[in-house]
């Protein structure tokens, strides 16, 4: 359990703020160091900027050495797990989507710090708050979202008379049919990856009005007419616009298919355009991005947040709070965001019109998508049951089985049985 009381926290935060405000090297901080754990970034300058610019500047200002420990992509959950189980390791960790829920008990309550940061920076996006609040406490400082949006080939869409990305799933379906006939199928992941499957299937479910659970986080409501309509749509969308292989795709597959000019539309993070610009400039020229299409109940996106947490057992908690307060200042944070262009979409409104969005205007939809982004268990708050459902691919496989030929009724029945078993412990 997190043993830091609110009073203690205020003391820590106060001391931290004082350190940051004074800017001088307090004697106590001399020779201290703290470690920040991050998964290796897809954008190399991002890690470099922290190590060379931010860490050095902070040490100069305060005397506290900041070690930036990079861990391989996908290994953060295991690393954080080891740190929390053994009580030693890094002092601050960058979380992916599920870690805040899983490790919340071992994280410092940073509600007040986040309140302050929000106030100074135009307020937080709701999705940012949704991603880090566990049982009413902010267990991490939201950093960004890595949005999953639509990536489409402008030249092939133009061949069937489409110049602007369609507004609804049904319109997209009609275009996809024509493009498949021209040997330019769509490719949306329906296999067991980590992100590109959830990235479009949860928003599709929500846009037809379906959900896993009620807002109470207990009542399973997947068996609904709305879910059935979303599944029926997915089945025809798969059958008439895609090819069988997408059922077995993992996260790299759609990127490979894009660069091989095999597909005309997919759902992915900004990285697809970023990679094309660096390695396949001709493909990059005809790549554009758009928000997810809307369904009868609106337009939705998946929140794939990254946030920073401070371990409650860290021997340098005070320094860690001070550092987070310093890092989240626009002077530092703005520069860090900027080096990654807009791959990391800020969760603070102060950056809505930041210059980083003008570097590549095709990325602007990622900013706009944040207003309609949610966690997989939405409208329920984040919970370990939600994490279990994601890890077991309940929603992904519900759609995938239907696409592979199982009846709508049966796939919903199976998903409901699984979800009821999972949410029994809620």
């Amino acid at each position: 359990m997190d043993t830091t009381s609110r009073r203690e926290f205020l003391k820590l935060a106060g001391a931290g703020a004082a350190v940051a405000a004074i800017g001088a090297r307090p004697a106590a901080a001399q020779g201290k160091s703290l470690t920040v754990l991050h998964e290796s970034s897809f954008i190399p300058p991002f890690d470099e900027y922290f190590k060379t610019t931010l860490a050095e500047a902070y040490e100069k200002e305060t005397g506290v050495r900041v070690v930036y420990e990079v861990t391989a992509v996908g290994s953060a959950p295991t690393r954080i797990s080891t740190i929390t189980e053994t009580g030693t390791g890094a002092d601050i960790a960058a979380n992916g989507l599920l870690q805040v829920i899983q490790f919340g008990d071992k994280y410092l309550d940073v509600t007040d710090l986040c309140g302050e940061i929000g106030q100074k920076n135009g307020g937080w996006y709701d999705a940012g708050r949704e991603a880090v609040v566990v049982d009413g406490q902010w267990k991490a400082v939201p950093f960004c979202n890595i949005g999953q949006l639509m990536n489409w080939r402008t030249d092939w869409f133009a061949e069937v008379g489409v110049e602007k990305f369609p507004e609804t799933w049904e319109e997209l379906y009609e275009i996809g049919k024509k493009l498949k006939a021209k040997d330019h199928p769509f490719g949306f992941e329906l296999g067991h990856g980590f992100g590109d499957n959830h990235g479009w299937l949860y928003p599709l479910l929500w846009s037809y009005g379906g959900h896993e659970v009620e807002a109470d986080g207990k009542t399973v409501v997947i068996d609904s007419n709305e879910t059935a309509r979303a599944i029926d749509f997915a089945r025809k969308f798969f059958r008439d616009t895609m090819f069988e292989d997408v059922l077995g795709w993992t996260d790299v597959s759609n990127n490979k298919a894009w660069m091989a000019e095999q597909i005309s539309c997919t759902n992915n993070a900004e990285s697809i355009l970023w990679f094309a610009k660096k390695n396949f400039p001709d493909i990059a020229k005809v790549t554009d991005q758009a928000q997810n299409p809307a369904g009868p109940k609106g337009r939705f996106h998946l929140m794939d947040a990254i946030s920073h947490s401070i371990f409650s057992f860290s021997p340098v908690k005070e320094e860690a709070v001070a550092f987070m307060s310093w890092l989240m200042d626009p002077k530092q944070l703005g520069g860090w965001y900027a080096v990654a262009e807009s791959y990391y979409q800020p969760t603070l409104h102060a950056y809505d019109n930041a210059p980083m969005w003008q570097v590549e205007p095709r990325n602007i939809p990622y900013r706009d998508a944040m207003a309609t982004a949610h966690l997989p268990g939405w409208p329920a708050p984040a919970s370990r049951q939600m994490a279990e459902s994601v890890a077991k691919y309940v929603v992904v496989d519900m759609f995938a089985k239907a696409c592979a030929g199982t009846s709508t009724k049966e796939v919903i029945k199976n998903a409901e049985a699984q979800l009821k078993e999972i949410y029994k412990s809620a």
């Binding site: 959950p77 295991t78 797990s81 929390t84 189980e85 599920l98 829920i101 899983q102 490790f103 919340g104 008990d105 071992k106 329906l190 296999g191 067991h192 990856g193 090819f243 069988e244 292989d245 997408v246 059922l247 077995g248 795709w249 993992t250 597959s253 490979k256 298919a257 091989a260 095999q262 370990r384 994490a387 279990e388 994601v390 890890a391 077991k392 691919y393 496989d397 995938a400 089985k401 592979a404 199976n414 049985a417 699984q418 078993e421 412990s425």
Partner: protein, 310 residues
């Protein structure tokens, strides 16, 4: 374990002081236990402890980073109510059964072929081990490309032979995905079978073949009545190892399909990992992993008894 006692008896007979550490160490009971202490400690620390800890975990509701509490067999009951769990069980048995059978038959054929005399025999034998030596993750990534519809060398070949484009979806079709992982596992495990059986073949005394030939046995009869009975113990031991490795396979599936499509290739090990590390439910994950135990234990006991009997 039996220990030959003669040397110790001889040493004990030498004249010496009656109470000394040397004499105490020389006592058969003490010495044999001392010799066994290191491996026993090793086993207790690195096999026994994780194993017992795994059992304890499986009896707890133990989310990662939180304290666990004892819930008896609830995790196992939850597993048995989980439709995916049964799918995983069937997958694991099909995968292990098919791959082991293929490896056994193929390995035997490979060993028989390698036992012939031909030029550069040793080089070929060494090269055959390659699939087994290359790290699984690397070779699996190579297979990932080979089975990719856009870049697949397999599909290009099939299309060249007249199959319609784009060819079979090796990893997208549930049945083909299972077929693919069985074939890749067989490809990887075949050399292990082949080389071990080859070693066994080389211990068969040539006189037996000569005697059988004089008695009028043909090639098949020599194989059936001389080679096979003599190889049987080795075949059983290799099978035992192979079943254990295949049953608990993780890397291949994790890299190639991650259990997809729709859990068609999900095995016990990958499913347990997803639940324990993905969902952070250490207790439930441990319970899935432990359900492998009875089947494997039964097999090991049965094979060991059979070997003793023969």
């Amino acid at each position: 374990m039996t220990i030959r006692s003669e040397p110790f008896a001889a040493v004990a007979a030498l004249p010496r002081r009656s109470v000394s550490i040397g004499a105490w160490l020389d006592r058969q009971g003490v010495f044999s236990w001392l010799m066994m202490a290191v491996p026993l400690l090793f086993l207790a620390g690195f096999v026994g402890y994780p194993f017992v800890y795994g059992i304890l975990l499986s009896l707890q509701d133990r989310p990662v980073a939180k304290a666990g509490h004892f819930i008896g067999l609830d995790n196992f009951i939850k597993d048995f109510h989980d439709p995916i769990f049964w799918r995983v069980a069937v997958n694991t048995f099909v995968y292990t059964g098919a791959a082991t059978l293929l490896k056994m038959v193929g390995g035997l054929g490979l060993a028989l072929a390698m036992n012939q005399d031909f030029r550069m025999k040793n080089l070929v034998r060494a090269l055959l081990l390659l699939p087994f030596i290359v790290p699984t993750v690397l070779s699996t990534v190579a297979w990932l490309w080979m089975l990719d519809p856009a870049f697949s060398v397999v599909n290009r070949l099939l299309i060249g032979l007249g199959l319609p484009r784009p060819g079979p979806s090796w990893l997208g079709n549930p049945a083909l995905a299972m077929f693919s992982i069985i074939m890749i596992n067989t490809w990887r495990g075949l050399p292990f079978y082949g080389i071990t059986l080859l070693a066994g073949l080389q211990t068969v005394p040539p006189e037996l073949y000569e005697a059988a030939t004089i008695d009028g046995a043909g090639g098949w009869q020599r194989f059936r009545y001389v080679t096979l009975p003599l190889l049987k113990p080795i075949i059983l031991i290799v099978t035992l190892f192979s079943v254990i490795f295949t049953f608990a396979d993780f890397q291949l599936v994790y890299v190639l399909t991650h259990g997809g499509p729709q859990n068609a290739t999900q095995l016990f090990a990958t499913y347990a990992f997803d639940i324990a590390m993905g969902a952070g439910q250490l207790g439930l994950g441990a319970s899935v992993a432990l359900t492998m135990l009875p089947a494997l234990a039964l097999l090991i006991v049965a094979l060991t008894l059979y070997l003793r009997r023969t």
